[in-house]
């Protein structure tokens, strides 16, 4: 026999009953449309990877200096190898 654990939980039941779900209209999927899902996934909005950097002044400076630092590092590595 299944004892109803919600029997005495009137307030919780009331709250749970407030949670309605709207069912969108969609059809049964025809077979072989996986590529459509891939396109949906690629086209869906995504977080900006450099957003934390451009939101502060220091971040912007880092972004500007990073290519210079990178170039300098590559030059130093080349000096070590070829000289």
């Amino acid at each position: 026999m299944n004892h109803d654990p919600f029997k005495k939980e009137l307030h919780l039941r009331k709250k749970l009953d407030e949670y309605h779900v709207e069912i969108p209209d969609f059809q049964m999927k025809p077979k072989g449309k996986r590529w459509e899902r891939l396109i949906n996934f690629l086209a869906s909005p995504a977080k900006d990877p450099i957003e934390p950097l451009i939101s502060t002044a220091a971040g912007v400076a880092v972004l500007k200096l990073a290519p210079l630092m990178g170039m300098a590092a590559i030059s130093i590595i080349q000096l070590f190898f070829f000289l």
């Binding site: 919780l12 709250k15 949670y19 900006d48």
Partner: protein, 179 residues
């Protein structure tokens, strides 16, 4: 007692392809609302429901009416697909976090629906149990079959989920008492 969906499934297994449409009409809302309440992701929920019915078409003869209802069988397929998909997403996100799609929850900050948040904040295993029990009127045995866990575990998870929800909604409980 044999339900309408079970009758349709038997007809579908016997070659009546139109019966599949009937099963879809009858069980799509329940499947969708379960997945949606679990994930709060509309596109994912639609994908899972559609994939569940594709799987049903592929494995229609794997269902045995004597073992349980078609509703439980479809919920079991949907739950497994959902867990696989969520695990795959988690892996994908750990490799490339910036490529993860933004969910609607992140976009909608003015959402005030506390019961939704309380349910989503439950651990996945407890969430599935409470959703199946409360919104889909499933018995402990059916939930145990869908989630592939023992009946005792269903009971304990249900109890823990109820306690957690009460804690999460504590403010609301105190408010309603003081009124």
């Amino acid at each position: 007692m044999i339900e309408r969906a079970d009758e349709l499934m038997i007809a579908y297994q016997n070659g009546d392809n139109d019966a599949l449409g009937g099963i879809y009409t009858l069980l799509k809302p329940a499947l969708y609302s379960f997945i949606y309440r679990y994930t709060r992701d509309q596109q994912l929920s639609i994908d899972i429901v559609q994939d569940t019915f594709v799987k049903l078409q592929h494995y229609k003869h794997h269902y045995h009416p004597g073992k349980g209802k078609i509703k439980s069988y479809l919920f079991q397929i949907a739950y497994r697909l959902l867990i696989d998909k969520l695990n795959r997403r988690k892996k994908w996100r750990s490799f490339m976090p910036f490529l993860a799609p933004i969910t609607k929850d992140e976009l909608n900050h003015t959402d005030r629906l506390t019961i939704r948040e309380a349910i989503v904040s439950l651990p996945g295993k407890q969430r599935a149990v409470i959703l199946l029990f409360y919104y889909h009127d499933m018995k402990h045995e059916e939930i145990a079959e869908i989630l592939s866990i023992p009946k005792g575990t269903v009971k304990s998870r249900l109890h823990t989920a109820i306690q957690s929800l009460k804690v999460e909604l504590e403010g609301d409980f105190n408010e309603s008492r003081s009124l």
